[in-house]
Symmetry: C2
Subunit: 480 residues, 2 copies
């Protein structure tokens, strides 16, 4: 039978240009392979009758298909569908096109989805305990903002963030972290990760700019700067934090986590802090301070931000609400010198414009009402209890094998492991027993890694801790 | 008097290491300038007495401050605060550090905040009319998702997006835009702008990869690819859309807006579409189709997506919910070949991880319930009425001076202006009279721009249109 009938070709005078309608349907069918190469198409007379249009209309459509190589004339008078066979590109065939930075990372599965094995005791790091978050009052704040928004057309917000939120954040970090800043220094972004991306856009000249990061260190910060084309230098860390003397002279940007080194947890000593600031001045460097998890203090020795000591405006301070609120809020910030704000705004617009207004204003309200502060102090007690329970259980079950690291802040702790027990093996064996823990190997590009375990405090129930540590210790010992 | 007293130095045995406490407070005071250079500090004996600590404790703290150059010994026995005077970096002094891509854009003020002059008639482009959006049921959807989230800890979501939303989007664009795709082809991101950034990360090798974009064209797409280091080629547009023959051989990635060329509004002809796909095959190119505003059809001739004709998987289709929902939702997507999804996921994680789960799931619900479809068809009528009213008013007041462009979709229209009236002047004069309109000069890097005005449909009330166009025409004529 005539293939056109099978294809259900149809035209409508109401839909305008008949030639175009016929042409469009046929060309699509040919290109999509629904009309196979070599198929004879009906004569113009027959199709015109079938569609109840003039023969000239069909001829015009056919002529266009001819001119585009979709139809070919066969010996005799037959018209056939041309061979436009194409095959879908695959990753392999497209490989010469995928030349961006991304392919380099294909084999790194960071922060992978949970695997099939069931987790009984979850010491995952980087996750807050959201079961204790006051979602009801958060929802009220969100609803209030939406209701305000309904009454008027939404105007474009400023890429640096809404003024009230900038003000609240400046106040918050001035008070809790002794960061010296005004609302004009605060730049709102979608989280710490985007902060790295934006700062890289400001400071990294691809293939040229030297960038130093702690090793072991936070791999996603490393990745953001590497993606921007930075020459990355991995600078070792010891029990005082980043070894400042080891920063190579090519470096112009230094990334540090002074409050709570990631992943070793050590606070950077005051000597190193002043040495780093001094070196920054000497060599004209910029410092990026990631002050993650610093809201949660452990022990009685609070430690200020590095930015507090900076009198030149060389420190760009990065913070996030992922832990003290919840990850889904997708809100973070940079406390930056005022001159840098328009640069950051320009970079942000080209990335994804700005944060949602509703979330920004709801968060500002939440901070203004003191709700954030109340939640943080509640969670501070919760996390400190968990921390203390882990330390107690470690001292009870694993003396000589595991030693808790020095820690002053955060939502995870480190346990130094006796050299007889390699941390990587301990992690793998623990996972087999349903215990999710981490080790430094996940966060280092070099082999010189302290033999440490890392235990997150966000997902483990207080009353499970003793049992979990007991089981962890026994599975490390057994698999030795 | 002794400066230490004025500084309110204090120590606490409960807070641990006394040497560190003294050292920390003094070093901070010196670095922050609260202890001026040259100030004599109290003798160790005096301070020890004042703080009620051993003299040795104070001596240790002083020794450390000495070793770090914060204190100097003066002739005699006096110890003075060293000169650590620093001055804040300024944009000028930091200019040798700001070497990233951003400074290049400092002088371009795209999509600036509204200026001081009052706008009576707002024909701004790129903005949806949110006053008619069903925010009440949207809020209900958001609340439902938050309530679900409260009952359990939030797990990390997949960077490609939540499965239900991917399914709903695949269904939506298959039906409304004839885009051939499955849920596995959908990658969720924060909007069209982020889609460009991610695709640039996949395909652009800095300094090498050739990238073609329509001229005039969408400047923020151009910026995203330029930022990634693409060699940008601006390819002219005529009344059939992108001039495919003018794409230089170096080009590997082509960016097009076939449904509704930005900013000229012309739909790309079928001939050009097939020519572009053919050329892409010949030269092994990737095509990025930005199908913005295509949900809103104008007239009776709907036009399919370019992706529909693509049988090789060379077209990456970009869509957004900024117009059919509202900008603040910060949600867009790429319909991509399945092999590309892991690359995009890897790129997304390094940018900002993922979209908020709550928004994703609320949007999926909104689509599943048919609410999005109902809102779109309502707004389609609203925008088409506004479009028709503008065309009617133009024909009434500006025959021979303004001619409406061909348009089949979108939330803005173009008016071709008689050559006697330069569009840029018309825009400036209109703004002085409180009428906000746009012209092609804002969106082109070359001088070859059609003499066109652009009028957005999102912020102008139906019953103001006749008067607004009348006034627009008179102010163009008067200022001639």
């Amino acid at each position: 039978m005539e293939p056109v009938f099978a294809l259900g070709l149809h035209v409508s005078r109401a839909a305008g240009n008949l030639v175009a309608q016929i042409y469009n349907q046929l060309s699509k069918a040919i290109l999509q392979g629904r009309l196979a190469a070599g198929t004879a198409i009906p004569s113009s007379r027959l199709l015109a009758m079938h569609l109840n249009v003039s023969r000239n209309t069909v001829l015009q459509a056919y002529a266009r298909l001819h001119s585009e190589g979709l139809l070919i004339s066969h010996a005799g008078s037959k018209t056939l569908v041309a061979d436009v066979t194409t095959t879908l590109l695959t990753s392999a065939t497209a490989s010469n096109l995928v030349t961006g930075i991304i392919p380099l990372w294909q084999n790194t599965t960071l922060f992978a989805q949970p695997g099939p094995s069931p987790i009984t005791f979850n010491f995952s790091i980087g996750l807050a305990d959201t079961t204790l978050f006051p979602f009801e009052s958060w929802r009220r704040a969100i609803n209030r903002q939406y209701r305000k928004m309904e009454t008027r057309s939404m105007e474009p917000g400023h890429p640096a963030g809404q003024p009230l939120l900038r003000k609240m954040i400046a106040k918050f970090i001035s008070q809790s972290r002794a960061v010296s800043c005004n609302p004009e220094n605060i730049f709102i972004c979608s989280g710490a990760q985007q902060a790295y991306v934006l700062l890289a856009q400001l400071f990294i000249k691809p293939g040229e700019t030297g960038f130093a990061i702690e090793s072991p260190g936070y791999p996603m910060a490393r990745r953001a700067f590497a993606a921007a084309g930075a020459r990355v230098f991995d600078v070792p860390v010891d029990e005082e934090g980043l070894i400042v003397d080891a920063i190579p002279p090519e470096v112009k940007i230094v990334f540090v986590t002074p409050t709570h080194q990631f992943p070793t947890s050590v606070p950077m000593s005051i000597a190193r802090r002043t040495a780093l600031l001094k070196l920054a001045k000497q060599r004209d460097m910029i410092i990026i301070e990631d002050d993650y998890d610093s809201e949660f203090r452990i022990g009685s020795q609070p430690i200020d931000a590095l930015q507090t000591l900076d009198s030149e405006g060389r420190v760009f301070y990065v913070g996030t609400f992922s832990k003290c609120m919840f990850f889904d809020i997708r809100t973070g910030f940079i406390a930056a010198p005022e001159w840098a704000i328009p640069f950051l705004a320009s970079a942000r617009q080209a990335q994804d414009w700005r944060n949602p207004l509703v979330t920004q204003l709801a968060l500002a309200e939440f901070m203004q009402n003191g709700e954030l502060r109340r939640h943080i102090s509640r969670m501070n007690r919760v996390y400190e209890q968990r921390y203390n329970a882990i330390v107690a259980a470690v001292n009870k079950y694993a003396r000589g094998m595991l030693t808790p690291g020095i820690i002053r802040a955060g939502v995870h702790l480190t346990l130094n492991l006796h050299q007889d027990y390699p941390a990587q093996e301990a992690c793998a064996n623990a996972l087999q027993q349903g215990i999710k823990i981490h080790c430094g190997n996940e966060f280092s590009v070099t082999d010189k890694i302290p033999n440490q375990l890392m235990l997150g405090l966000g997902r483990i129930a207080q009353n499970n801790i003793d049992h979990a540590i007991k089981q962890l210790v026994s599975c490390i010992v057994e698999n030795k």
